[in-house]
Symmetry: C2
Subunit: 363 residues, 2 copies
Amino acid sequence: MIHLPVDDLKHFIETTFIKLGVPLEDAKICADILISSDLHGIESHGIGRLRMYVDRIKSGQIEKKAALEIVRESPTTAVIDGHHGLGMVIGYHSMNLAIKKAGEFGMGAVAVRNSTHFGIDGYYPLMAIKQGMIGMSFTNARPSVSPTFGTQPKLGTNPIAFGAPTDEAFPFLFDAATSITQRGKIEVLNREEKPASKGWVIDSEGNPMTDPKSILDGLSQDQAALLPLGGDTEALGSHKGYGLSTMVEILSASLQSGAFLSALSGLNPDGSNSRFKVGHFFMAISVESFLPINDFKKNTGELLRELRASRKTPGQARIYTAGEKEFLNAIEVRKTGVPINENLRKDILYVKNLLGITDLVLK
Amino acid sequence: MIHLPVDDLKHFIETTFIKLGVPLEDAKICADILISSDLHGIESHGIGRLRMYVDRIKSGQIEKKAALEIVRESPTTAVIDGHHGLGMVIGYHSMNLAIKKAGEFGMGAVAVRNSTHFGIDGYYPLMAIKQGMIGMSFTNARPSVSPTFGTQPKLGTNPIAFGAPTDEAFPFLFDAATSITQRGKIEVLNREEKPASKGWVIDSEGNPMTDPKSILDGLSQDQAALLPLGGDTEALGSHKGYGLSTMVEILSASLQSGAFLSALSGLNPDGSNSRFKVGHFFMAISVESFLPINDFKKNTGELLRELRASRKTPGQARIYTAGEKEFLNAIEVRKTGVPINENLRKDILYVKNLLGITDLVLK
């Protein structure tokens, strides 16, 4: 395991996208979103996914210069067609449009179709928080999660991200897949050559699977499925994770007449690569429309502090609130650098050599 | 177990509220919301809670005639003070205001403070669906759920309700507590004298509890806590249920400077009854701002049909989508009547005798 300085890695990501023909402004957006993921300790969605973006731009699955198009617009809403451009660029501009509308009218929502993977869901609420707003972001994704009582990977990991400003050094920032785990975490375990936890994944008969390589193969071949939050029994709330995932799928496809479920596989019937056609839904709520921002921040901060100060389970040192661990992780990573394991080092080296990037020192 | 006809029971509920001094229009709203719960098969929130409302109106915890007050308003948003009136009446008018704003500007959101228990969360999205809109509803509640790594009941069961119109006979309607189970279900088990499932509730040391009477006592005395969706380990996603619950608490309190967490206990420091000061957050999104309503209905219907038609776990007869079981249940209950077990029969008889209601036949 080596560690690379945050700024060096961010610059490398930016250079990678520029070398691929992505415009400078867009490359900067992508670098900021990917490095945010590593800063937050969400290693599944940061530099670890860079090779995926490179491969998809090379294969033409992602258009490097697509301009997003506003298809329909009202005072508070818009529908955007991403034309298969970089999801991070599309997401950035779409969230900004939602924020602009919320600034004018109190609320804003933007539904996006024909986008591609947009990085960590939690980045977009942070954009709203910086403007004194509540932000929400939803996206569908490649089919990988089974419905309750089913074994076929149909739904995406369909995350929900929600952020709100506080009077503390960091905001409340919730960002989680509606499945127990997500594909990116299985990819990380595969790179680390470690098994997945029992209870995360089932095979086509509903039996547990733990080998990450078999799981990744199975997900692509309709023979493995991640379980929704709540697992596979109604007694523990499987139908709740499944229902939330369906809600995200509806928000990410129905309002924009976009693709959903199996249409997001990225494969044509003959097995060749197709477009991903991912959909997103962004929402911004202007806090000042409800009350002075400082009152809101204080209310939220006090709520979070009461939670953290509550009675701990014997043996537990600390109760966290959402976004706290990520904030602490960012402080640490800025000091020590981004951890890079052996398989990730190989991926970075592959990209570096492929594109002839010389200014990142990596053996 | 006896069964009572839906219309007789609805009329009985209406009469109950009128006898208590609730205005006719408000009594009708309450009756419609409570009977909807029994129709949907959510027996925890229907006629089974009538005695609770009666007791709270009698004790003055709920004001029978409070007028709701709009404290602050923008084109798309409003803050409402419920002045401790009937939560169902406050919820009904607040959701209608959100719908009106969405009709004019595309989106509407109403934040409510100083309300009381508002019945089933899923009723309010249904109001939006009838107007061709997406509806969302959130509420906090008495402290009963522990944060991840904690054992103190701090958060409410904090449900999320989300509904969207479809091209089918019934809508997509998700309505679920962000905890694995909810207080009302424990009350039902207590009336039925059945144990709770292991994995639902922990004691002050983090050990499982299953006796419903001990759980209900423990919840009131800070000695038992319901677990968030995902249970008590991060491996199975405890932090996700906890994070969603915190999101609902923020939406239900921060925007309206309302009460949160322990302030919702309904008890003064001396143990006497206090106001509940519940908060809600309602949202409506006009589908027509994004696309023609029939396109949306078709998109959503096709999405749901693909889920239902997917591969089933061996031994499972059917895959449902959210709102489907409730729709089927309503058809059944209209035919056979609302099931009333012995303890519930006693509660109804208590209310009937207390208020001298003669037109419900019940031995």
